[in-house]
Symmetry: C2
Subunit: 412 residues, 2 copies
C-alpha cells in the first residue's frame, strides 16, 4: 500500500501525559480513533494488526478442534434472567421506540446463548465433547474505562465454549486450551504467566488467568521467585509458595486471557442434558475461555515500544516492510527505482507500506516510520542507488546496512 493513498495519517498532537502508552502511540500512529471513552475505531492500519491476531487465534483454536461460529450481540432478557445476571452492573440494556422497559441487553458475555444453542443439538453422550468459538464484540458498562485498548466498554473477544460428559473430560480439554493459549500469546510476542484465580461470577471453582507483566497493568499477581508458580490477589493467603516454599513477589500485570471451568451452572439453567450410555439423563459439563483481541494489541504496544514509537513483532505487524523513498534532488530517478522495488517486493509476497510522499522531509518520514513500528525499514535515495543498494534497518536495532537491490527480497 502506498502511504500517499493510505487513509490514515500520523498526528503530531501529543495526547495528555496521563494517557496510557498504548493509547498515545496507537492514536498518534493512526491505528485507532477514540470515539468515546473506552470505545474505539480500528483504522485501516490497526485493523490489519487485529486481523493478524485473529488469524493466530483461529489457527490455534482450530488446532484443538474448536469450530468457529457467530452468535448475536442483541440478547433477549430471558437469557440473563435464567442465570440471574440481568441486573448485573456491567450490563447495557436496550430500549426501543416509545417503550422505556428494556427487553434486550447487548452481549457482555455469551455463556447463556451457547448453552441454549447446545441444548437444541445435544441428545446423547455420543454428541459430546465439542467446542465452539467466535470472535465477536462484548459490551460492558465500565464506569472507569481507561488505559486505551486495555479496558474498554466495547471490545472484541474470542470466546470459546466447551461441552463435556463429565469433569474429567472438561479437565483434559482445559489443559489443551491452556496449551493453545500459551502458543497464541507466544506467537504474539507475549510472555504470559499462567495464574491461579478465584472463581467468580461464572463459576464456583478456581479459574486461571494469563497475565503479562507490565507496570501499566491493573492487576497484581504474586509470582514465586523459585518455581514460577503464580496466583492473583484474590487467592493469595501467604507469602510462601504452596508448591515449593519459595518467596512470592508482587508484580503488576495485564490479564490477556482467562479460562473458566463452568461445571453445570449454565446447563442447569438451560436444561442442557445428554443421555448417558446407561440411559440416564445428565447435565452437560461446560468450560469457557476468553481472549480480548484489542487488549492483546494494547499489551503488545505496552511491551514493544521505545521513545520513538511502536516496535511490532513480525507476527502481528501491519506490514512486514516499510519502504521509504527519499526523492531529494534526483526525484525522478529515485522514485522510479523505488516504484520498481515496491513492485518487486509485492511480487515476492511481502506486505509493504511504501512511503511515496514527495513533499515530506526525510526527518518526518523517519519519525513516522519509527512511530508506526513496521519491523524492517528500507530506504531508497540517490546515495544508496549510487551503490545499486538500499539501506535496511530493523526497527528493533540501531544499525543500518546497505543491501544490494537484487538481494533485497531474500533479505526481507
Amino acid at each position: 500500500m502506498k502511504q500517499s493513498e493510505l487513509f490514515v495519517k500520523t498526528s503530531k498532537t501529543t495526547l495528555k501525559e496521563d494517557t496510557s502508552t498504548n493509547a498515545r502511540l496507537l492514536e498518534q500512529g493512526g491505528f485507532i480513533y477514540k470515539n468515546s471513552s473506552g470505545i474505539y475505531t480500528y483504522l485501516p492500519l490497526g485493523w490489519r494488526v487485529i486481523q493478524k491476531i485473529a488469524q493466530i487465534i483461529r489457527e490455534e483454536m482450530n488446532a484443538i478442534g474448536g469450530q468457529e461460529m457467530f452468535m448475536p450481540a442483541l440478547h433477549d432478557k430471558h437469557y440473563l434472567q435464567a442465570t440471574k445476571r440481568w441486573d448485573v452492573d456491567v450490563v447495557f440494556k436496550v430500549i426501543s421506540g416509545q417503550d422505556k422497559e428494556p427487553h434486550f441487553n447487548i452481549s457482555w458475555t455469551h455463556e447463556e446463548i451457547a448453552a441454549e444453542i447446545a441444548s437444541r443439538f445435544v441428545d446423547s453422550y455420543k454428541d459430546l465433547p465439542f467446542s465452539l468459538y467466535q470472535i465477536q464484540t462484548k459490551f460492558r458498562h465500565e464506569p472507569r474505562a481507561k488505559s486505551g485498548l486495555l479496558r474498554g466498554r466495547e471490545f472484541m473477544m474470542k470466546d470459546l465454549y466447551s461441552f463435556h460428559t463429565d469433569e474429567a473430560g472438561l479437565e483434559k480439554f482445559y489443559e489443551q486450551v491452556a496449551g493453545a493459549y500459551h502458543k497464541i500469546f507466544e506467537r504474539c510476542g507475549l510472555k504470559a504467566i499462567y495464574t491461579l484465580a478465584a472463581g467468580g461470577e461464572f463459576t464456583a471453582s478456581h479459574t486461571h488467568e494469563f497475565q503479562v507483566l507490565a507496570p501499566v497493568g491493573e492487576d497484581t499477581i504474586h509470582v514465586c521467585q523459585k518455581c514460577g508458580y503464580a496466583v492473583n490477589d484474590e487467592v493469595k493467603t501467604t507469602d510462601e509458595c504452596p508448591k515449593c516454599g519459595g518467596k512470592f513477589e508482587a508484580v503488576k500485570s495485564i490479564e490477556v486471557g482467562n479460562i473458566f471451568p463452568l461445571g453445570t451452572k449454565y446447563s442447569e439453567a438451560f436444561d442442557l442434558k445428554y443421555t448417558d450410555s446407561d440411559g440416564q439423563k445428565k447435565f452437560v459439563v461446560m468450560g469457557s475461555y476468553g481472549i480480548g483481541l484489542g487488549r492483546v494489541m494494547g499489551t503488545i504496544v505496552e511491551i514493544y515500544n521505545d521513545g520513538k514509537g511502536i516496535i511490532w513483532p513480525d507476527s502481528v505487524a501491519p506490514f512486514k516492510a516499510h519502504l521509504i523513498a527519499l526523492p531529494g534532488k534526483e526525484e525522478a530517478a529515485v522514485m522510479e527505482a523505488a516504484d520498481k522495488i515496491y513492485d518487486d517486493l509485492q511480487a515476492a509476497g511481502i506486505d509493504v507500506l511504501y512511503d511515496d510522499r514527495r513533499n515530506t522531509t526525510p526527518g518526518e518520514k523517519f519519525a513516522d516510520s519509527d512511530l508506526l513500528g513496521i519491523p524492517t525499514r528500507v530506504v531508497v535515495s540517490a546515495k544508496t542507488l549510487a551503490e545499486t543498494s538500499v539501506e535496511v534497518k530493523k526497527r528493533s536495532e540501531t544499525e543500518a546496512k546497505l543491501v544490494k537491490i537484487s538481494e533485497l527480497a531474500k533479505h526481507v
Copy 2:
C-alpha cells in the same frame, strides 16, 4: 471436516408452514439458529457461507481502492443528534446501571461516525478522494422482523463510505462501486437488477438499489420489458419506460444492496472540510454503499433450492464436496477406503465434509446431503469399490456417474 464431529445436526422438525424458505432450510440444515425474532446465530456451517461471501466482498472492495477498517457499535448520542436521527423509530437506545436516560445507541448505520473520523484526518484536497469500508453489525428495531435472514433486527453489513472534493468525483466512484456490486452479486450466483430509487433518510437525490427477483421479496420493482431499465415503487409515475418507451412490468424482489450519493449532509454536520487548491475551505462530498451479508445468504437460498433442500453455488458453498461413506456389511473395508479418499481430497486442497457416521442409513445420509446442498456428492460403498470407483453426483443434477478413485481429485 468429519460430520460425526461437526457440531451441527440437521433437524427433522418441519418449521411452521408460513416460515420463509430460507429460514426453513437454513434452520433445518443447521446453518443458523434463531435466538429471537430477527436475531440469529450463524452456526459453524452457516458461518462458513458468510465467510465466503465476506471474502468475495472484500476482494471487490479492495479492487476499487476501499480500505477495510472497523467502527464501533456503541455510539454516543451526539452522533445521531448532530444529524437529527437520534429519535428515528428504528434506533435501539442503550441504558446502563441505574441511569434510565439513554446516552448511547447501537449502530443502525455509520455515516456519522465515518464523517467525524474523516474530519480528523482530512485537511487538503490532496487527501481526497478515499474510501473506507467495514463488515460490522447493524441493529434496527423492526416491528415486523420476519423472512429469516431477509429482514433482521441484528444483521451483518458491509458498509463503504467514500469522500470526494466534488460531485463529479463522487459520480465517477459511484459508477465504480456499481460495477463492483454487479461483480459481487454475480460471483454469489445472483442476478441483481440496478434499480433507480428515491432519496430518503440519507440523501435528497436519487439513489440506486440492487434487486434480485424473488416471489418472497418485500419490494416491488418495475422493469422495462424492452430495455431492462428498472425503477422502484417510490419513483414510478408511469406505465411507460422513460428511456425507451417500453412497457414496465411489476415484479417482486429482494434488495441485496444499495448505493447513496450523500452530498454534504454529513460533512456539514461534522464540519468535514478540505482546503481546495485555491485556498478555499469546502465541504467534502460523500457517498455510502451497503450490502447485507445475511440477506445475500438468505436470497441465495431463496433462489437456489428444490423440494429436498439447498443447492449452493460453488462460490459460497460451505464445502466443495460431500463425501458419503455407506459402510453396509463391509464396514471395515468401506470406511478404510473412505478415510483414505477423505485424506486425499484434503491433500488436494479440496474442502470436504465427510459423512463418516456408522449408524445412519443411506436414506438418511442422502436426505441430509440434499438438505445441506453441497455442490458435489461423492458416495463410497462396497458396490462402487468393486469397480475401484466412487459415485459422483452434482447437487444441481439428477444423474450420478462412476468415477475412478484415482481420478477423483481432478474430477472434483
